[in-house]
C-alpha cells in the first residue's frame, strides 16, 4: 500500500448531478505498465483529468508518492513528476518540433524566468531535446512546424513532450487513437520500449483489446461508475462480469 | 527578417517618403500669406465653425479683391481638431511647418486653444483667438504671440455676475462643461457674485463632460437642489441640447437659466427657446449700432442669405486687427507684426477697440439682455433690452494679470 506510486482513495465525481464515479479506489505500483479500459463514456478521460488536477473530485483522495494532490494546480502536479499525453493531439502547433520539447525541458529545469539568454544557446538542453526526439523517432523533423506533421507523428511528439518532463508516472490517454494499423503497432512498440528503457510507471487508456491484452501487466476496467475489475490481462479476459458489461456477451 | 525582403521594404518606404517630401515642399508659394485655421468642424462646435468660416472667407475675399496685404493674397488653410487638444496641437505644428502658415487663427474649444498656443509659442507664430476665450490664455498660459479678440471667461463670468446681481435670486445652481472654459467661467462668476452679493448661495456646481448631449441624469439632480436660478456655462450644441431637454422638466420656469445666447445657439434652439431668460452674447449684430456693423450685416446677408452670428463678427474683427497690424508693421511676418499688435487701436465692427499690451486682450465686453420673440426675425428669438457690459468694468486689472503671468512656468 504505502509503496504505491499513486493511490486513489474513495474517489467520487459528478457533473451537474450526473455521477461519473462513485467511490473508486485503486493503487498503481511503481514500475507497472497498465491499462484502463471501459466502454465509451465510462469516465476514463475524466479519471485522468482528476488525477492530473484538471478537475477537482467531489470526494476522495489522490495520493501521489505519499502526498495528497487533491486541489493542487496541474502545473504543480506536473512538477511532482506526473506527466500526461492526450487523446486528442495536444501540442503547440505553430512552434517547431524542437521548440515543443525544449520548452518542456526548460520548464522542468524551472528555467522559464530567464529573460536574457536566447533559449537556443543552451547546448545541454538542445542535446537532451534531441535525445528525446530520437527516442520517439522525430529527430529528423526537429525544425519542422509541429502543427503540420502527420497525425501519427503529432501523437509521438505529444508522448515526447510528456517524456521530456522525465516523469515518474506517465498517463497516456489512448496513445493510438486515430492511427492506421501500422502506426498503431509502431506506437505500441514505442511505448513498450520506452517503458523498458526508462523504467517509468505507465498507465494508459486503450480501446484496442489486442493491444491491451498484448502489453499490459495489469488491466483495470471502469464501468457503471465503478472500478469493475482489476487484474492481469488473462484474468480480465476471463472475467464474466467484464465480458457481459463491456466486451459483449457471446453472440 | 530576411535581408532581401528588408531591402525591398526599405526601398518602398524611401520612394513613398521622398514622394511625400516633394509634394509637401511644393505646397508653398511666395506671394501668398497662409492663414492656418484650426477649427472644431465636428461636434458641438460645428455650427460655430460655419459662421467663423463665413466671416473669415468674407474678409479674405474683400481684402484680396482690394489687392491683398502688401501685394500678397491671403489664403485660408483649414484643419479639423475634432475638439481634441492633441489633434489640434499636431495640426498647429503641421500648419506651421508643413503648410508654412505665417499666422494661425484659433479653434472654438479652449482646451484645444491651450494646446495650440504652446505650439504657436514654440515656433513664434502669431495665433489669434476669436472664439475660444479662456482667460488663462492671457494669464497663466500667456505667451507674446497670442491675441484674444473675444470676451474671455473672466469678462463673461464676472460680467454675468454684474448683470445677475441686480436680480432678486439668492440660490443658484451652476452647471457647465468639465474643462477649462467651464471651470474658469463659473469660478469668475462665483467670485464676482460673492463680492457683489454676499447673500447669494451657490447650492451646487454640476460638471458635465464636454460634448455630452444627454442631460437626463443631470437635470433631476439640478431639480433636487431646488435653485432659484441656474447659471450655465454651456455653449453651442451642448447649450441648445441642455435647454431643449430641460424645458419639459419645467426647470426653466422654476429656475431661469442664464447663459451664452449667441445667434447660432438661438438659431439652433429655434422655437424651443423660452422667453424671458437672461443671457449674454459676444457680438449680437441686432444690438450693436455702429455704421460698420450695418454695412457688414448687409453685405453678409447678401452673400450668405442669413444673419451674421457672433462668431462671424469676431472672426472678421480679428482679421481687421491682424491686417491693420501688418500694414502698420509693413511686414507680413509674425516676428515683425507682433511688435505693433500690443496696444494697437483698430476700428472693429463693434466700434473702436484696442489691444491691451500687457495681456494681448482686446477691450471687448459682453452684451446682456433678455430673450424675446422679435417680429423681425421669425425663426429664432433674440435678446431685447440689450445693455453692454464694457470690458474695462470686468476684466482683470493689469497688476493682477502680471502677477498671474509671472506665476507661469
Amino acid at each position: 500500500m504505502s509503496d504505491a506510486i499513486l493511490s486513489i482513495e474513495n474517489l467520487s465525481k459528478s457533473f451537474e448531478g450526473n455521477q461519473v464515479f462513485n467511490n473508486i479506489s485503486f493503487s498503481v505500483e511503481p514500475g507497472e505498465l497498465s491499462a484502463i479500459i471501459g466502454p465509451n463514456g465510462a469516465g476514463k478521460t475524466t479519471l485522468f483529468n482528476l488525477i492530473t488536477g484538471a478537475l477537482v473530485p467531489d470526494e476522495g483522495k489522490i495520493i501521489f508518492e505519499g502526498r495528497n494532490i487533491v486541489g493542487m494546480e496541474p502545473f504543480d502536479i506536473v512538477r511532482l513528476g506526473m506527466a500526461r499525453a492526450f487523446q486528442r493531439t495536444n501540442i503547440f502547433p505553430r512552434m517547431t518540433v524542437l521548440e515543443n520539447v525544449v520548452v518542456t525541458i526548460i520548464t522542468r529545469l524551472k528555467a522559464n524566468l530567464s529573460f536574457v539568454k536566447p533559449w537556443t544557446s543552451s547546448s545541454q538542453i538542445r542535446r537532451r531535446a534531441f535525445e528525446i526526439l530520437e527516442s520517439v523517432g522525430l529527430a529528423d523533423k526537429a525544425n519542422q512546424q509541429s502543427g503540420i506533421l502527420a497525425h501519427g507523428n503529432q501523437k509521438r511528439l505529444d508522448i515526447g513532450v510528456a517524456l521530456a518532463l522525465e516523469p515518474k508516472l506517465l498517463l497516456l490517454d489512448e496513445p493510438t487513437a486515430g492511427m492506421s494499423p501500422e502506426e498503431r503497432w509502431e506506437t505500441v512498440e514505442l511505448v513498450k520500449e520506452l517503458w523498458n528503457r526508462m523504467k517509468i510507471t505507465m498507465v494508459y487508456i486503450e480501446h484496442d483489446m489486442d493491444i491491451v491484452f498484448g502489453i499490459s501487466q495489469k488491466v483495470r476496467v471502469l464501468c457503471y461508475k465503478t472500478l469493475l475489475a482489476e487484474g492481469p490481462p488473462h484474468e480480465i479476459s476471463a472475467n464474466q462480469q467484464v465480458i457481459e458489461a463491456y466486451l459483449g456477451e457471446e453472440v | 527578417m530576411e535581408h532581401g525582403k528588408c531591402r525591398v521594404l526599405l526601398a518602398l518606404v524611401l520612394v513613398l517618403f521622398s514622394a511625400t517630401l516633394l509634394v509637401s515642399s511644393n505646397a508653398s508659394a511666395a506671394d501668398v500669406i497662409k492663414l492656418g485655421f484650426i477649427a472644431d468642424v465636428s461636434g458641438i462646435g460645428a455650427p460655430f465653425y460655419k459662421s467663423q468660416k463665413a466671416g473669415l472667407d468674407m474678409f479674405i475675399e474683400e481684402i484680396n479683391a482690394a489687392g491683398g496685404v502688401q501685394g500678397k493674397k491671403l489664403e485660408l488653410v483649414v484643419r479639423d481638431s475634432q475638439l481634441k487638444p492633441d489633434i489640434g496641437a499636431n495640426q498647429a505644428r503641421e500648419l506651421i511647418l508643413s503648410e508654412k502658415c505665417e499666422f494661425l487663427v484659433g479653434p472654438t474649444s479652449s482646451a484645444v486653444a491651450l494646446a495650440t498656443t504652446k505650439v504657436a509659442k514654440e515656433f513664434k507664430k502669431i495665433i489669434f483667438f476669436h472664439t475660444s476665450n479662456s482667460e488663462a490664455l492671457t494669464t497663466t498660459a500667456f505667451q507674446p504671440y497670442m491675441f484674444q479678440v473675444v470676451p474671455n471667461t473672466g469678462i463673461e463670468g464676472r460680467g454675468m455676475a454684474v448683470v445677475l446681481s441686480k436680480k432678486p435670486y439668492k440660490k443658484y445652481c451652476l452647471i457647465g462643461p468639465d474643462y477649462a472654459y467651464g471651470h474658469e467661467q463659473l469660478n469668475s462668476f462665483k467670485s464676482e457674485m460673492a463680492k457683489r452679493r454676499p447673500d447669494v448661495e451657490i447650492l451646487d456646481t454640476i460638471w458635465v463632460k464636454l460634448g455630452e448631449s444627454n442631460f437626463s441624469t443631470f437635470i433631476p439632480t439640478l431639480m433636487a437642489k431646488k435653485p432659484e436660478a441656474i447659471d450655465a456655462a454651456f455653449w453651442g450644441g451642448q447649450l441648445s441640447a441642455f435647454i431643449k431637454q430641460a424645458k419639459p422638466y419645467g426647470v426653466l420656469k422654476e429656475a431661469p437659466v442664464s447663459s451664452l445666447f449667441d445667434l447660432d445657439m438661438l438659431r439652433a434652439t429655434g422655437p424651443d427657446m423660452p422667453e424671458g431668460l437672461t443671457g449674454y452674447a459676444r457680438a449680437p449684430f441686432y444690438a450693436i449700432d455702429t455704421p460698420q456693423m450695418k454695412v457688414f450685416v448687409k453685405k453678409y446677408y447678401d452673400k450668405y442669405k442669413e444673419w451674421p452670428a457672433d462668431w462671424a463678427i469676431m472672426a472678421y474683427d480679428g482679421m481687421i486687427a491682424l491686417t491693420e497690424a501688418m500694414k502698420k508693421a509693413n511686414s507680413t511676418e509674425s516676428e515683425q507684426v507682433v511688435k505693433v499688435l500690443g496696444g494697437l487701436k483698430f476700428n472693429s465692427l463693434r466700434g473702436e477697440r484696442y489691444i491691451r499690451a500687457e495681456d494681448h486682450m482686446a477691450n471687448v465686453g459682453i452684451y446682456s439682455g433678455v430673450t424675446a420673440k422679435s417680429p423681425d426675425y421669425k425663426e429664432f428669438l433674440i435678446m431685447k433690452d440689450v445693455q453692454a457690459v464694457p470690458a474695462e468694468e470686468v476684466w482683470l486689472p493689469v497688476a493682477e494679470v502680471q502677477k498671474l503671468q509671472s506665476e507661469q512656468k
Partner: protein, 322 residues
C-alpha cells in the same frame, strides 16, 4: 541549424542598415528647412508609436492575449512624465525612468485581475479597466487637468527636434533589442507556448497565470515608456492617451504589420502613420475620409491577410523560393 544562424546574421545586417539610415535621416531632413523639421517630428512620433505597438504585441502576438486596455499604460506613462516634470520639477531622464515603472505597477494591479480570465472575457476586462483609468484621469480635474490635459511639459534646452529624435531612436533601439531578447529567451518561449495551447502548457508544468501576468507587466512598462516619450514630444499629456480607441491603434498596427513577427507591429505602425500623412498631402480631403481608408485597409487585412504584411511577404517569399 545553419540556416538559423545565417538568417539571424541577415537579420542583424538589415537591422543595422535600417538603424544607420534612421540615424542619419534627420541630417538630410534638416536640410529641407521647415518641411524637414516637420518630418523629423513625424518620424519621432512614428518611432514612439512603433514602440507602443511592439509593446502591445508582446502580449498580443507572442502572448495571444487581446488587450483592449493597453492605452491605459501608455497614458499612465505620459501622465507620469507630465506630472513629475511639471509639478515636481523632475529632470527628463528621471521622469522617463519613472514612466515605465509607474506603468508597470499599474499593469501589475490591472493584470492581476485580468489574467484570471480567458479569451473574450480577458479582452473586455482590459477594456473595462482601461476605461476606468481613463475616467479617473478624466474626472480628477485638479490633479490631471481633466479634459484639458496637462500642457507645457518642460523641454530641456539641448533637446531640439533632432536631438529628441535621436534620443527616441536610441531608446527605441534599446527597447527593440530588449524585446527581441525577451522574445528569444526561455521566458519568451514559455509565453509562446501558452499562446499556442494554454491547457497543455499547464500540463508541462507552466504556471500560466504567473507568466501571463509577468508578460502583461513587461508590456505595460514598455507602453509606459512610449507614453512618456510621446508626452515629452508633444509637451502635453491628454486623456485621449488612455482612451480605448487609442488601445485599438497598436492592435491595428500589429495586425497590419503581422502579429507573429518582431518588427511587424513597428512596420505596421509606421506605415499607418505615414499613409495618413501621405494621403493628406496628396489631397487635403483625404484626411476627412482617413478613418474609411483605415477601416477598408483593416477589412482587407482581416479577410485576406490575417498574418499581416510581414506574414504576406513571408508567404510570397517562401512560395517564390520553392
Amino acid at each position: 541549424m545553419d540556416d538559423m544562424t545565417s538568417s539571424s546574421r541577415a537579420g542583424w545586417i538589415s537591422g543595422i542598415t535600417v538603424t544607420v539610415v534612421l540615424f542619419v535621416l534627420p541630417v538630410f531632413l534638416g536640410q529641407l528647412g521647415k518641411t524637414g523639421e516637420y518630418w523629423i517630428w513625424v518620424s519621432t512620433e512614428m518611432i514612439i508609436m512603433a514602440l507602443f505597438a511592439m509593446s502591445l504585441n508582446l502580449i498580443l502576438g507572442f502572448g495571444g492575449m487581446v488587450s483592449f486596455g493597453h492605452a491605459a499604460f501608455f497614458g499612465v506613462g505620459a501622465y507620469t512624465v507630465a506630472l513629475l516634470m511639471k509639478k515636481a520639477d523632475f529632470p527628463l531622464y528621471l521622469a522617463l525612468t519613472a514612466a515605465p515603472l509607474v506603468a508597470a505597477i499599474t499593469a501589475a494591479i490591472v493584470g492581476w485581475f485580468c489574467v484570471r480570465l480567458l479569451g473574450l472575457y480577458f479582452s473586455i476586462l482590459t477594456l473595462a479597466f482601461g476605461q476606468l483609468l481613463f475616467m479617473i484621469v478624466f474626472q480628477w480635474y485638479t490633479f490631471t487637468g481633466g479634459d484639458d490635459g496637462l500642457h507645457g511639459v518642460p523641454r530641456p534646452e539641448i533637446l531640439g527636434p533632432i536631438n529628441y529624435y535621436w534620443l527616441c531612436l536610441i531608446l527605441f533601439v534599446i527597447c527593440f533589442l530588449i524585446i527581441r531578447m525577451i522574445v528569444n529567451s526561455s521566458f519568451g518561449l514559455s509565453i509562446k507556448t501558452i499562446r499556442e495551447n494554454m491547457e497543455r502548457a499547464k500540463f508541462i508544468g507552466i504556471n500560466v497565470r504567473r507568466y501571463q501576468l509577468l508578460n502583461f507587466i513587461i508590456a505595460g512598462a514598455f507602453a509606459g515608456l512610449a507614453g512618456g516619450m510621446l508626452c515629452e514630444l508633444n509637451r502635453f499629456a491628454q486623456t485621449e492617451f488612455l482612451h480605448w480607441s487609442k488601445s485599438a491603434e497598436p492592435i491595428l498596427a500589429s495586425l497590419v504589420g503581422g502579429i507573429y513577427s518582431l518588427a511587424g507591429p513597428a512596420i505596421g505602425s509606421s506605415i499607418l502613420i505615414f499613409l495618413k500623412i501621405f494621403l493628406q498631402q496628396v489631397h487635403r480631403s483625404m484626411v476627412e475620409v482617413w478613418a474609411i481608408v483605415l477601416g477598408v485597409l483593416l477589412l482587407v487585412v482581416v479577410l485576406f491577410a490575417p498574418q499581416g504584411l510581414v506574414g504576406l511577404y513571408q508567404n510570397i517569399f517562401k512560395k517564390s523560393q520553392s
